[in-house]
Symmetry: C2
Subunit: 234 residues, 2 copies
């Protein structure tokens, strides 16, 4: 099956018995959360990529929210929302449990995950041209710099929290190289080492996109139909 | 120990070994989520009420977010945020499990819980004088009217989702009687029966506040120091 992003006029690829389907979009950080969990847990799945700006008519019937990620089960049930999808996958597939079983540790991880809005809020403003939001991104990173007291946010190996916040951290390199974000190692020393560690994690390697490809995509984003495939999916 | 709300100049009541403490405020719907779960699960706890508009100096050290609810354990650890507190309590105390063990049912409940912003968004606008937000509250209720397909949102008995959305439903009566919200049984027939059922649930009976008392409290809210005790806590 082609991984090319589907738009208006397309037909929903038929569901297949026993196959878990993920609706995704290659550059979407929320969908990447789900793809990171799927990769980290070695869960077999098929992906159907969606042109979010020019959606297939059938997709709004499958997921009235119109967003990705969304799971589609072979019995027709669906599940939207990145955190719900990711938690569902971790609950359902026991291999490599990512969410702590200790209720307090789980809650503290969730607090760290929900705090990513400190970064994502100014992130989108800056991405779409409001350079005054740059300092707010750095302030948001200060919070994580202060919270990082081990190799990863949940301990000495990557767990749920790392995968839930990584997609925006990954895109900082693009903001720095192509959009002039004043990100530097002196201010966020622990985070910079953490970023390097994360880039070697197999699930991250399986989903990471180079800064130059983000630049190519976001340059096309203002057009009526952005270049969702960007030469990286066929 | 007095339940009167504490403000500036107060001293933090000392933690007691083996006692779980909840910081709360009698009229706060988020804190009520935690109190509903505590009541539904018969969890022993002590409550310390906080004047949210004029906070005790010590409270910001305990919970830098400055909000309620917040749990305080006898070893000094804390946990803020109503959904995290409520989930933690359900995870930790096995009696009367409120969150579904089935991962898909759990995710669908969470989707219903997160959708309460459809009601809470316009709720606060309307409460603080923007009468144009009234129709948006009713639209938000349409969503729940449509989703209710059993005696309760999670099946034939109250579960997590019911307790997480109830606090705003409870306050609709006050908005109707004292603020002119055009709530009527013809439009929300299933919800009206549901409200009556919920009012008979023991945990709801343990925390419910009459519309007239809400009115007394919110009338005092514009002042520098609202009447948090309102004659109902001593």
């Amino acid at each position: 099956m082609s991984l090319k992003h589907l738009g208006p006029g397309s037909v929903m690829p038929p569901l297949q018995k026993g196959k878990l389907r993920l609706y995704s979009m290659v550059f979407c950080p929320y969908a990447q959360r789900a793809r990171l969990v799927l990769a980290a847990k070695n869960i077999p799945f098929e992906v159907v990529n969606i042109k979010l700006k020019v959606k297939p008519e059938w997709y709004l019937k499958v997921n009235p929210l119109g967003q990705v990620p969304c799971l589609h089960f072979d019995d027709g049930r669906t599940l939207p929302e990145s955190l719900l999808v990711s938690e569902y996958l971790d609950d359902t597939y026991p291999e490599n449990k990512l969410i702590p079983t200790d209720p307090y540790k789980k809650a503290i991880q969730r607090l760290l995950i929900d705090s990513v809005t400190k970064v994502t809020g100014p992130f989108y403003k800056f991405l779409f041209g409001d350079s005054a939001a740059g300092p707010d991104i750095l302030n948001g990173l200060d919070y994580y710099e202060q919270k990082l007291d081990n190799d990863y946010f949940g301990g000495d190996k990557p767990t749920f929290v790392d995968y839930m916040i990584w997609p925006w951290f990954e895109r900082l390199e693009y903001l720095k190289q192509y959009k002039g974000l004043d990100l530097n190692e002196n201010r966020h020393q622990k985070l910079f080492s953490y970023f390097e560690r994360m880039k070697k994690v197999p699930a991250v390697k399986a989903t990471i996109i180079p800064a130059a490809t983000f630049d190519k995509f976001f340059k096309s984003y203002a057009s009526e139909e952005p270049d969702y495939d960007c030469g990286i999916v066929q």
